[in-house]
């Protein structure tokens, strides 16, 4: 009767709700849009939007939805979780090199080896997106970049400083800058990934002293704690903290804060990758040519060069339901029209392109001109370790924050990082660990 009906109604209501929850998931899955997981720095965002606009104009039946996500370990983790749980976007931008190896590329990404545009991509890049089974999986998303010190040329001119070729010269410059009332070295631990630059950019110097390091490291034979040249990076980070050369808010400042200080001349040295020049071009175009670049110096003035990063790459998720549309987007990004021209138009060039036929315009920013001098000379570049070895510990950026904040000594940090790397190597199932 009445009460029974009410009971049935409650049961029906609950069942209906459950059914609805299943439906709502299904309804949203029916879109034929492509979803793209893009980086969140200003330059990449501007490029992505311009590239997508051009792509959609040429392909009116495809709609690209851009999702912006963080960088650093957070991105690593988001990518890994999404791939592991089958919730990755159709196409996604992610690092090449060792981080690419760590996401199980054979299972997670689509094989692009036989695509026509692959022949126009430079070999040095193709190496970094080759899966363990020898297939190619990604196309470049951006340009190659150098890792070293971005510096404010104007302050250098005002204080009469010259580009340091050794670490001691660098520290001497810092002292003079501090006396002038500016922050010698900018650190931005609000974005933890930026704290790794001292270690990572120093690899040219490590490679110069220990040419076998990368191979031995992958085999588990070389350790940071036991290799003085490798530990130098941690030591450098500790040195600038100890000397009091950091900006006051280094603990909470973000990448954007750092670039603002650099462009304005409030801070003079910023260990960073040159992709950031693109962001300066977006946000502080008037100060763009006040910013220059030099390599992180070692001990020897005659052996001075920069560590080079390949750009991030665009991959197609193996589980995408929109394979054809995804392949069209990737082909566009691998072409001059989609992969080079938008960057040129935005004046956001940060290094050489990896696609044949893409020339750098003559009016590139000052920092990029500085970077080019390393490429044109012989033996002044070395690829970053993550492109020579599949092993990179997930906690490096936390460890470098500790070193850079004076919480942990360089020796401890190196030991800790070796442990961290060991976990990663074991999880990857590498022999010898």
């Amino acid at each position: 009767m009445q009460k029974t009906n009410r009971r049935h109604a409650i049961a029906g209501f609950a069942a209906g709700l459950m059914g609805f929850t299943a439906l709502s998931g299904a309804a949203f899955a029916q879109q034929t849009t492509l979803s793209l997981f893009a980086p969140n720095d200003q330059a990449a965002v501007a490029y992505t939007e311009a590239m997508v606009a051009a792509f959609e104009a040429a392909n009116p039946d495809i709609n690209v939805e851009i999702e912006v996500g963080p960088g650093g370990t957070e991105r690593d983790n988001m990518v890994k979780s999404r791939l592991a749980t089958g919730t990755m976007n159709d196409v996604f931008v992610y690092n090449a090199g060792s981080l690419f190896q760590a996401i199980n590329p054979v299972q997670s990404t689509v094989d692009l080896t036989n695509e026509p545009y692959m022949s126009t991509i430079l070999d040095s890049f193709k190496q970094t997106v080759t899966a363990p089974d020898g297939t190619l999986r990604g196309v470049p998303y951006g340009q190659a970049m150098g890792g070293g010190i971005l510096y404010n040329k104007k302050v250098y001119k005002d204080l009469g400083l010259s580009v340091p070729l050794t670490w001691d010269e660098f520290m001497a410059n810092n002292t003079k800058i501090k006396e002038a009332g500016k922050a010698p070295v900018i650190q931005t631990f609000g974005d933890t990934w930026t704290s790794q630059l001292f270690i990572l950019a120093d690899f040219f110097n490590v490679q110069a002293k220990n040419p076998q390091f990368a191979d031995m490291y992958t085999r588990g034979e070389a350790k940071y704690a036991a290799t003085p040249a490798a530990m130098a990076g941690f030591q450098k980070q500790a040195d600038v903290f100890k000397a009091g050369d950091l900006n006051e808010d280094f603990g909470a400042a973000t990448l954007n804060d750092g670039l603002r200080m650099l462009a304005a001349g409030e801070g003079v040295h910023y260990p960073m990758l040159t992709f950031a020049v693109g962001t300066i071009a977006q946000d502080y175009p008037d100060q763009l040519n006040d910013v220059g670049f030099f390599a992180l110096p070692g001990d020897d003035a005659t052996i001075n060069g920069t560590t080079v990063w390949m750009p991030t790459a665009l991959y197609i998720s193996a589980k995408t339901p929109n394979l054809d549309a995804a392949k069209k987007l990737v082909a566009f990004v691998a072409s001059k029209e989609g992969g080079c021209d938008p960057w040129v138009k935005l004046n956001a060039i940060t290094g050489p392109f990896l696609i044949q036929g893409c020339e750098l315009p003559s009016n590139v920013p000052a920092a990029v001109k500085d970077l080019q001098t390393y490429f044109t000379a012989d033996g002044r570049t070395a690829p970053a370790l993550e492109f020579l070895s599949p092993v990179k510990g997930p906690s490096l950026e936390n460890i470098t924050v500790e070193v850079g904040s004076g919480i942990r000594t360089p020796a401890d940090a190196a030991t800790l990082y070796d442990e961290d790397v060991r976990k990663q190597a074991q999880q990857l199932g590498l022999p010898g660990w």
Binding site: F20, S24, A29, G69, E74, R82, T85, T87
Partner: protein, 275 residues
Amino acid sequence: MKSRPSILISSAAIAATAVVFLIPFAFIVLMAFKDRQQSSLRDFSWPAGFHLWDNVVQVIATRNWMLVTAFVNSAILTVASVTLLVIFAAMVGFVLARRKTRFNGLIEFLILAGLMIPPAVVPTIWLLQGLGLFGKLHGLVLIEVAYGLSFSVLLYRAFISTIPRELDEAAIIDGARPLDVFFRVILPLLWPVTVTNIVVQSVAIFNDFTNPLYYLPGNGNATVQLTLYNFQSQFNTSYNLLFTNILLITIPPLLVFLFFNRQIVAGVTAGAVKG
């Protein structure tokens, strides 16, 4: 006992609580009214213009109306979970309070375990994947029910023990079947504690961040808390939008608070004072 309220202490209390408890909310509101430039200063200044509406529109439209999807998802999640919780927990609490079986000790232990033991997240993910429930909203509903049962059962058991058995017995003598006794006699009498349970669980599930983070990855399924968390990256230079988002997701609890304050307070003190 003073017969007159102390003006001094009262004013001090009002002022102190305003500074400590109200200023952060005032900050949120102020930031939501500013534009991008001014909000990046992160100070407590008065907004230069009235940008609230623009900010709200921009936040809601971000990433293809993701916030709207999120609100819908959170609403479905909350309503479905709470409905199931009320029914199932009341059933358990009822039999637990009325009938002495040898299982009662075990059940008490399991309830306490549910309050204390942290859920084993990775095994749960593995299990959900096996059952095909991972990353689905109805999977999360069942999870929220599983985690919320302990508190709800305790609530119901305590309250049912205050309903005289004579009522059950009278209904049985009248020829009522077990389900009838439960739904026609007991459940209506449980209305006060049900309202309390609904309110407390709704707030908890709406504000839940950890469980959707682990069990509902992927943006199509996002709940409001996850969306707020993800938008930190999206709005990394637009504090005005970020705080507008915070303001928007504070509205449902505010409404609940205005209408159901008494029930919440009753709910959380239930059993607390009686031990």
